[in-house]
Subunit: 696 residues, 2 copies
């Protein structure tokens, strides 16, 4: 088996995934959509989501254009020093990264906004068909994201054979994720908060009442935040993990006695995609079955298929068993972390009950207990990530004693690849959430009756439970990926050092004051970044609240429900505001990296990345988990506990939920993207940091 | 000037400080206390505080007894291997550390609970006498804490000449700080929250109403948390900074061409104490003067005096100018960080106004904006700490080129010593706060009239402002100290390695998986630690609320104010609960260190400390600052902004304040102590971790 053949096989598998996604898409489209209100609202949502994407695309084209010009002139070396082809390749790969990521987001949005109404109507026939519409709609996104990732990386490597081109491709994916995830996160919470504040609180109308001008924006938000944003985020992590593994693998292939590293990475990546396709195909729910266990069991099935497929491949192609073990270790730890994290947000477990009970003493106690459990919840994932780093390092260290530390780093990167191998399944499950969430709202607006609502409620609740698991999983996967990227950065620095004839580095020593300085600054950045996003959501929500007040004051007959509000104005505000607020936050992350690099050089940047990873992991786990915990505590109270709906405990729980919204849907998950962007920039600029820094 | 003479001079200066403290104490006692209600309540507070201390002492004696036995048998080496005298010395030094810290806490409590009533009565004669009683009362604590520190370290070094004995002394101080700061922090917030919940919320009676059974406990809490706890905390940091500097200095004196390191440390420490004495002596307030600027200007005066005194000493004794520069750098950065942090909590600045304004949209927005500004506020202090580490390292690196990295670490430790040099002044200002806070309550209970209340209000508000500054300062100082302790740990490891004939270490490389594993776990510990404390406060407050309900239900005539409640029951609950809740949290910190050490060895522990420092600094800055911000936002609203008292914004601001209370008074400042304890344990157990770990 040559590398070329393997790469072509990967391309082939990605086409299988695309084909399957197309079949699923057509299947969803074939499902009946007859209710007029549902069709109308569903169309409005689709148009709103498209409006957001096209506005985002315009900004993105400007941004990506600028970056690609910089790459064209500067990477890997200034273009005037000769090397036009390499620079051009890098720029093109960067653009391809942004395009593929944008494309898979667009596909996801299209199918999600088509599936939501159809799932609502299918619920009239029972839970099984409604579940299948939601799940298959989500699976389109899953197949598209992972297919695009495997396709993109394979083709780039096939054509260029250059890992720096892969890094540029990955950087393209990250730039887009910064916009899609962060912008989508701001959009969704802006609309959510503004709709709740004016609708539920001021006017006393239900959550999805069509009189509220923000109601469509709110539903659009679910799609742009959870479908497009989350897809871009996982596309980004997945590409980055492959890029990190490839950089190290290709260097090892060139020097080590064991040559199978690059081919292993592609083989495992392709098999991950294949396992996800098979996992989605076999997903089933009984006639009156439980959607949560259907979703979870498909995750297990995919995991098992993947383990078996890689086992066979490793045996047949005589790959290293140590590398295989590291890969499976990553996968298993990822699943375990997901389920441990679930403990803190599951409404049958102690933390949710305790927070609900604390709410009876008032909102301050909802917040205090939620923050406390959020802090506690970081421990299992931090330890789990630590253990998988440590063991995968130790496993692979011995593959070639001459290159012990390089193989060790390769082991870490393969653990990240393993953890992300089933990402197709994860994205499917994750995208299922907003579809059935929308379906619930549409069923209400379409007046489909209480029985249907109880089915969509059950589907929605399964979506929330699964989301908690996938979130813990994706944060840890991103964590392991950026740890692998740290190795990539060191490797890039040493390449650059060898080229210009200076001494390389062997690590990032905390006792080196430049490294420590970098660590301190790097640790502060995720906090500053999240703060800016949350303040941005706040500001943006205020703008939308003003618009809603304005519409209620000026549009006659709106309060009585005789005329429709101008939904588009709210969508515009959310869109423009999201983009306006994300730019300064993104700049802080990027500029601080560049400043630290030019002040303290590669040592300071190494420290900066370490500090960034540590505090970023900690804060994103904390914010995502406490947000999920508050959400479920509110639902637990609404289910009739601690006084039920309308009680003081309920009011307090709603406060917790409102605080948790930007925690879990804006700031928490955006930190992943921030860390990845910063890591990739550091790798790409390593030569400059090495040669042009103030301190050495 | 020989070292012996310098040590004796330090002892002499500490006696000056004690003498001055005694004079101040007698002066306070001489002030009139005539109002019967004030005297009665003040006595109750004093008795309550004494009860807490004596209960704490009993637990402490058991705990310290156990640790000292362990030290006696195990440190520096198992006693059965011979070395009885050294082990005994270490155990005695440990005990002395706990005793001196406990003693200065006791002195502080005695004077604070005597000064509160007298300050209230003095306010009848104007702001000037009332301020002087509060300030001089606080200064007794300041002089006692720093005097005890300088005395203790000097005498231990004079007698033993062994830096490990100093480390044991420091560990003793830290153990006590763990109890005093953490226990006091739980106590004070338990009482505060329970008193507010039942009094203000349920019964609608004012904050300091004597019918509330928790009211005395609440006032006791101010003293045990802010006076005794804060004193123990800064005593701990101060001793630890000296210990860290001495460990490195004494090694350098033995090998380097430049011999003045140990003597410089003592000289600078003694001069810091002297400068604080002079600063307190010169503190003045005009007849209608502004107490805030009186407090701040005394800080500036002390800083200036210290700079001049050390300048002269450096010139006269021909110390290294680089060391002097590092010391002054630490001092200046400390002051700058204090004032930058102040921006985020000052009620004339944007953050407080914005949080107050956000409160008009409900408590969720109070919390979200407060969390955001709290996150932002970490940046200046993190960068400041990073810069002072970096520059002090670079400054001292060149003192002896043969020992560049050792001198560099010495530079960092001297920057910490410099930052903590004016701690006598800082403690004075800090202890002033609870005295005038109590005075305000006593003036109300004693019925001294509105004019007196407005004076005590002004004094109280100055206390809050200054507290924000000193808090930022003390967190950064603790941060720099633990960074210096990291150097101490490495130095101890290398000593142990040399003794048993294995290779030493040169640093803690993040690319080493054991180090990285340690970092991940270490970063999670401060979050877990704070979570346990906050949950502990919650649980304990619930217990006290039950007791208050019980008293109101069973004691006849209590509601009408005809009979007194059983104040002591509430004090007992707060005391026992505080101690019960702090033990598991303390154990988690200690046990996780030991487990990581025995699993991953010295590399993992190095990483553990780095992760602990980074996330500990970040979280303690975040929690202290957002807590202060919420407190002041509430006061800002109460001063009539955004709707004023009783408005919706006010209710929301009160929620913020309640969340902020355990943030800023329990969890945030306790993290300092947690990090210091963990650092000292690591240094003391370095030999064991080096020889007996699972991985190497």
């Amino acid at each position: 088996m040559t590398l070329q053949v393997m790469l072509l096989l990967c391309v082939f598998v990605s086409f299988i995934a695309f084909g399957y996604a197309a079949w699923l898409f057509l299947w969803v489209k074939k499902q009946p959509q007859e209710n007029k209100t549902i069709t109308k609202v569903s169309d409005l949502i689709q148009q709103g989501a498209r409006a957001f994407l096209s506005r985002q695309d315009r900004i993105l084209i400007a941004f990506a254009g600028l970056i690609s010009v910089i790459i064209l002139f500067m990477l890997p070396a200034p273009i005037w020093k000769g090397g036009f082809v390499k620079n051009l390749t890098n720029a093109i790969c960067y653009i391809c990264g942004t395009l593929l990521s944008a494309l898979s987001g667009k596909i996801g949005i299209e199918v999600a906004t088509s599936a939501n109404g159809r799932s609502a109507e299918a619920a009239q026939k029972g839970i099984k068909p409604a579940f299948m519409v939601g799940f298959r709609g989500g699976a389109v996104m899953g197949m598209a994201v992972v297919g695009a990732c495997v396709l993109g990386v394979s083709v780039v490597y096939l054509i260029t054979g250059d890992t720096q081109a892969v890094l540029c491709f990955s950087f393209g994916a990250s730039s887009l994720a910064l916009f899609a995830k962060v912008g989508g996160g701001i959009f969704t919470k802006t609309a959510d908060i503004a709709a709740d504040l004016t609708g539920k609180v001021e006017l006393g109308i239900p959550e999805d009442d069509p009189r509220n001008p923000a109601v469509i924006a709110d539903n659009v938000g679910d799609n742009v935040g959870d479908v497009a944003g989350m897809g871009a985020d996982l596309f980004d992590s997945n590409v980055a993990s492959l890029a990190a593994a490839l950089v190290i693998a290709s260097k090892l292939d060139a020097v080590s006695a064991y040559h199978n590293n690059v081919i292993t990475v592609f083989c495992y990546a392709g098999l991950g995609l294949l396992a996800s396709v098979l996992g989605v195909m076999t997903a089933k729910i009984g006639k009156n079955g439980n959607p949560t266990s259907a979703l979870n069991s498909s995750t297990y099935v995919t995991t098992a298929i993947y383990a078996v497929l890689t086992l066979i491949a490793t045996y047949v192609f005589k790959f290293s068993w140590y590398v295989w073990a590291a890969c499976i270790l990553g996968l298993v730890v990822g699943v375990v972390i997901g389920f441990t994290t679930d403990y803190f947000t599951d409404d049958t477990k102690q933390p949710v009950h305790n927070v609900a009970h604390a709410s009876t003493s008032g909102p301050a106690f909802t917040i205090l207990s939620g923050v406390s459990y959020g802090f506690l919840s970081t421990l299992p994932a931090m330890i789990g990530t630590g253990i998988s780093t440590l063991i995968s390092y130790k496993l692979c260290e011995g593959i070639d004693p001459n290159f012990g530390s390089e193989y060790a780093l390769f082991g870490i990167s393969i653990a990240a690849v393993g953890m992300l191998s089933i990402v197709g399944m994860i994205v499917s499950n994750d995208a299922y959430g907003p579809i059935v969430d929308n379906a619930r709202g549409l069923a209400e607006m379409g007046g489909l009756g209480d029985e249907v609502l109880s089915i969509t409620d059950e589907l929605d609740s399964a979506g929330n439970t699964v989301k908690a698991i996938t979130k813990g999983f994706s944060i840890s996967a991103a964590g392991l990926t950026v740890i692998a990227l740290l190795g990539t950065f060191m490797s890039e620095v040493n390449d650059a050092a060898a080229e210009i004839g200076v001494a390389g580095i062997t690590g990032f020593d905390a006792m080196n004051p430049l490294v420590f300085f970098g660590m301190l600054v790097g640790a502060a950045i995720p906090a500053v970044f999240s703060a800016m996003l949350m303040l941005g959501v706040n500001r943006n929500a205020q703008r939308m609240v003003e618009e809603i007040h304005h519409q209620f004051n000026t549009i006659e007959g709106l309060k009585e429900g005789k005329v429709d509000p101008e939904y588009n104005r709210c969508i515009e505000i959310a869109t423009n505001g999201a983009i306006r607020e994300l730019i300064p936050a993104g700049l802080v992350a990027i500029v601080s990296t560049i400043v630290v690099g030019f002040v303290g050089g590669v040592g300071a940047i190494g420290g900066f990345l370490v500090g960034n990873i540590l505090s970023g992991l900690l804060l994103s786990l904390f914010m995502s988990n406490s947000g999920g915990l508050w959400d479920n505590s509110k639902k637990f109270v609404e289910a009739g506990h601690e006084g039920g709906k309308g009680s003081e405990a309920h009011k307090a729980a709603v406060v917790g939920d409102t605080v948790g919204d930007p925690f879990k849907d804006t700031a928490g998950p955006s930190i992943n993207t921030q860390i990845t962007v910063v890591s990739l920039i550091s790798s790409l600029l390593s030569t400059l940091f090495l040669t042009m820094s103030l301190f050495k």
